[in-house]
């Protein structure tokens, strides 16, 4: 069974994502900051990561860097879910190896779920990793 790691510090967003992912039959793990996320990935490698950027302590950029520099982890699809909408943040995250980027308030949750399914059901492949 496919496992999704939600890296997000807001409980209500975790709940919405969790309920929708569970309804699709995925198992879900949650990390509430960047440090915890890296720790969880180390213990159990997820099939996909949903990643918030602004979090207390270690942020999403830190997680992205850790995932991409680890040969064991670098093929995990990462979808950034953030409310940072400026071009600079989007560009930075994409350059650091995010596969997709959603400004949360601008997209229905179903769009995010469909994207997750695309990756996990093989309709979409991760970007080329150097």
């Amino acid at each position: 069974m496919n496992n999704v790691l939600i890296v997000e510090d807001e409980d209500f967003l975790i709940r919405a994502l969790n309920d929708n992912l569970a309804a699709e039959g995925y198992t879900v793990d949650v990390a509430k900051d960047g440090g915890e996320a890296v720790e969880k990935i180390g213990k159990k490698k997820p099939n996909l990561v949903l990643l918030d950027l602004l979090m207390p302590k270690k942020d999403g950029f830190f997680v992205l860097e850790e995932i991409r520099k680890n040969p064991e982890w670098k093929l995990i699809p990462v979808i950034v879910l953030s409310n940072l909408g400026e071009d600079t943040s989007i560009k930075r995250a994409m350059e650091m190896g995010a596969d997709d980027y959603f400004v949360k308030s601008q997209h229905p949750i179903q769009e995010v779920i469909e994207k997750v399914k695309d990756y996990l059901e093989g309709r979409k492949t991760v970007k080329h990793r150097p």
């Binding site: 807001e10 967003l13 919405a16 409310n83 308030s105 949750i109």
Partner: protein, 401 residues
Amino acid sequence: MKKVKKTKQTKKGKKRISRPEKIITEQEAILASVGDPVMGLVVVDKDGKIIHVNGGFEVLTGWKRKEAIGKSLIKIVPRENENRDRIPFKQRILSKVLSGKTITTIAANNVAVSIEKFPTFYYVRKDKSRFPASSVISPVLSEGKITGAAEVFYDITKEKELDRIRINFLSLASHQLRTPLSGTKWLIETMYKGLVGKMTEKQKEYLDDIYKVNEQMIKLVSDILSTLRLESEAALIKKGKISVASLFKDILITVTTAAKERKVALQSSLNHRTLIIETDPEILKSIIRSFFSNAINYSRPGQKVILGVKEESRAVVFFVRDFGIGIPKNEQKRMFERFYRASNARALKPIGTGIGLNIAKILAEKIGAEISFKSEENKGSTFYLSIPKRSSGGAKARNKN
């Protein structure tokens, strides 16, 4: 600087000689200390050679009065843009003021007095360091002829810093607003899916209302963020070219759905299709699109909206005409104020942010274009976007043939 006549008649008709000399030195002393040390003042002759500077000029530029007099102002105080590119002599406003050219791209008061602050420019000091400046240049006229120019300038480092802090703060605040709004959105969507049980019709109606209000808030926050981004200059102008034909095509595609929903017909004129507009195409589209969105929203079902273009000697003018509710005369001067919506617009369509035309105006300034409109209540409005054919804003038009 005005020359003082060497002789002067007193009331009694006697000639006095010593006094004018004194006046000259007094005037120079006054001029030299005007605004000291925060405001730079420099006066040049018709060739742009410095004939007077004040203490503020010395402090701000690092050039001593004695070194500066007689030298070309443009040469010793170069101007740079944000990217550290030198602004060529011919493009310096001083050159334009001295040659008597009318300035169209910068907020001009009366004829050739220009107040510049935007886009940000920098003056380079004697020691090659630089500071952001705002400046006012006006011609010195004698019997209707331009005999020189006077420039007053300030160091706006502090204002820029405050601006940056304000924008960072507002951008963070808007980001913090988006988080609860997106949470509400996603939780309601999850309820709609029936993942947490079946709802009664009444409950669904209530939820629909909450969802709508939430979407309005999301739109508002997103609009505020885009204005802030525009003002922060982060959105730089990208020079490009677009033909009238493809411009119209691109715009019409994006407004068709909205027009259908309101049962408004769209029409576009067929002249000047091969005309090429040299400007930032995305900004151009965005301005005309906001004209359209208003025209469609404030038309009545069954009416039409016309998109057209005309070529004038100095500009290419795009216009969007509707036959809808119009703008009440006494509210017309407030149309470009941020968040302002006309009373009849609010009555017809309660939802709206009043930010569209404000953004359009900021965008137009960015590409050196001008927005104007004509409107009559209950008869409709026409909004014009006038793009100068040649201007320092980089917008110009030429015919393909």
